[in-house]
Subunit: 285 residues, 2 copies
DNA sequence: GTTCCGCATGAATCGATAG
DNA sequence: ACTATCGATTCATGCGGAA
């Protein structure tokens, strides 16, 4: 299978129009935060952030498949001693636009930037807002299961009375089915808090997230061959991870320098990926 | 020093009017969440939550000292497959009321409620919204510094409640100083993510939050002799912790049963706290 | 006295069923 | 169509009894 990675140079507001309706399985992006990174994006004033973002999210709503998911990594900055409210306002506005605000994940940044202020501590978390077009969407929960705690060891030895009672209350032949469930429990489902360290690899791009972040959501919301979109590509982390995970992807970047860097990085990979594929076919299973 | 713990039986909307202007140093509370705890409290519909809360927050704004802080523990529930937006709307409305939304802390609940659903994971975090009247407020950051690397959680856990009480009740030498004795230098400021487990309820009561939660904020925003207010007292966790930490406190509770239980628990403690102080001075260290 | 192990139960959420 | 109730699902924690 050939993995396509299509990169667009330009403004998301215009470039997104080139993408077909209902063609994207997952949108994962970290847009420029309000009034930050002035050097690269010019900076959007907090008061006008929703206003600026809404035409883009309207396009995203169009290109996303009905069963697809939009994950928005964002965090409000401090303005004048207060947390700015533009993210809250954005959520409310996007719901009016037709998005469903399904969930808010927390990215707990293990090693946040050091510093000291008289009236606040280091900010070590960011929002990961999950939006959907429908209540029903694709979610492959088993792909992100994590090893269980010590609890499982003792639990598997003998079922407690309560567990038995709860099982008996089920109508029909649920008991045997449950036993097999217990025995498979060496792994548990995760929660809506992600605990990842920030990576400082990308020296060119100022606000890159660690690869583990898009990787987790790509696992959770897509399968191989699906299409991932990042309308604010930056250093291309989302697209690189998607490619490695055998997902097609689309990236849009307004800064030519970033666009070219990612283009150069992607192309050699493409050659490598195309060659050994037959080998994998031979070897597989 | 005699520690006052004043308990009011009644509705916060009326009882708060009995409290003097600018008399409270810290408000820490966890109001009934929308449509939650219907059996004990009325249960507020998500659509009318801000409307219900605003008269109360107006009173809170009045009674809080200009240098004081209001910490609100809350989390929106899922309604119809979506996260409800009433908390976002409440933040926006409270700002219009005159509050400054200084910060949002995250309480990462280690043991969240179990369950499995096709479209979401377990919810394991809650918001701790910090509001202030002014940009300048009292914050004693050194009091909540933590050892670098691994926090000696196991050692802290081992200490019984009586140990905690003994340490706290010694004037001028609290729990924090003992920690610094064990693990000398190399302490760091914490971040805005708190990682605590919910306390399993054993006998009488289920507390909404673990003692560590109000304890942390009481350390951070008050000193001994300051006044802490919880307008939704519930099982009285905030007041009990405040008392142990030698802060005066005010608690308001609408359910008579809770009010009476807390009343009974507080009074005997008062006697115990005053008596054995000299003894501990002999034994201490 | 420690350590180990069994046990109940949570500020939950969904889908089906009933009014 | 819309709301209210109920059963099923699931895992970390601290307590208390046992080894």
């Amino acid at each position: 299978m050939e993995i396509r990675t299509d990169l667009y140079l330009g403004d998301s507001r215009t470039e997104l129009k080139k993408i077909a309706d209902n063609s994207i399985d997952l949108i994962f992006t970290s847009p420029p935060y309000a009034d930050q990174r002035k050097n690269t994006y010019g900076g959007i004033h907090p008061d006008h952030y929703a206003e600026w973002f809404l035409p883009i999210s309207e396009q995203l709503l169009r290109v996303l498949k009905p069963t697809g998911t939009f994950v928005l990594n964002i965090k409000e900055k401090v303005v004048n001693g207060e947390r700015s409210t533009y993210v809250l306002e954005l959520i409310l506005a996007m719901r009016k636009q037709g998005w469903l605000w399904t969930e808010e994940f927390i990215w707990h940044k293990k090693n946040s930037y050091p510093g000291k202020w008289p009236n606040r501590f280091r900010d070590s978390w960011e929002r990961l807002l999950q939006f959907n077009k429908q209540k029903k969407f694709h979610m492959y929960q088993e792909e992100v299961m994590v090893p269980m705690g010590d609890w499982a060891k003792t639990r598997l030895k003998r079922l407690s009375d309560t567990d038995k009672k709860r099982d008996e209350s089920r109508v029909g032949s649920g008991f045997g089915k449950n036993i097999s469930n217990w025995l498979n429990r060496d792994r548990a489902y995760p929660t809506n808090v992600l605990h990842l360290a920030t990576e400082c690899n990308n020296k060119n791009h100022s606000a890159a997230f660690p690869e583990g972040l898009p990787e987790w959501f790509i696992k959770l919301f897509t399968r191989e061959g699906d299409v991932v979109l990042d309308p604010f590509m930056g250093s291309g982390t989302t697209n690189k991870v998607a490619r490695r995970m055998l997902r097609h992807s689309v990236g849009i970047e307004i800064v030519r320098e970033y666009y070219e860097i990612v283009s150069r990085e992607i192309e050699p990979v493409e050659l490598v990926l195309l060659e050994p594929e037959r080998e994998y076919d031979k070897v597989s299973i």
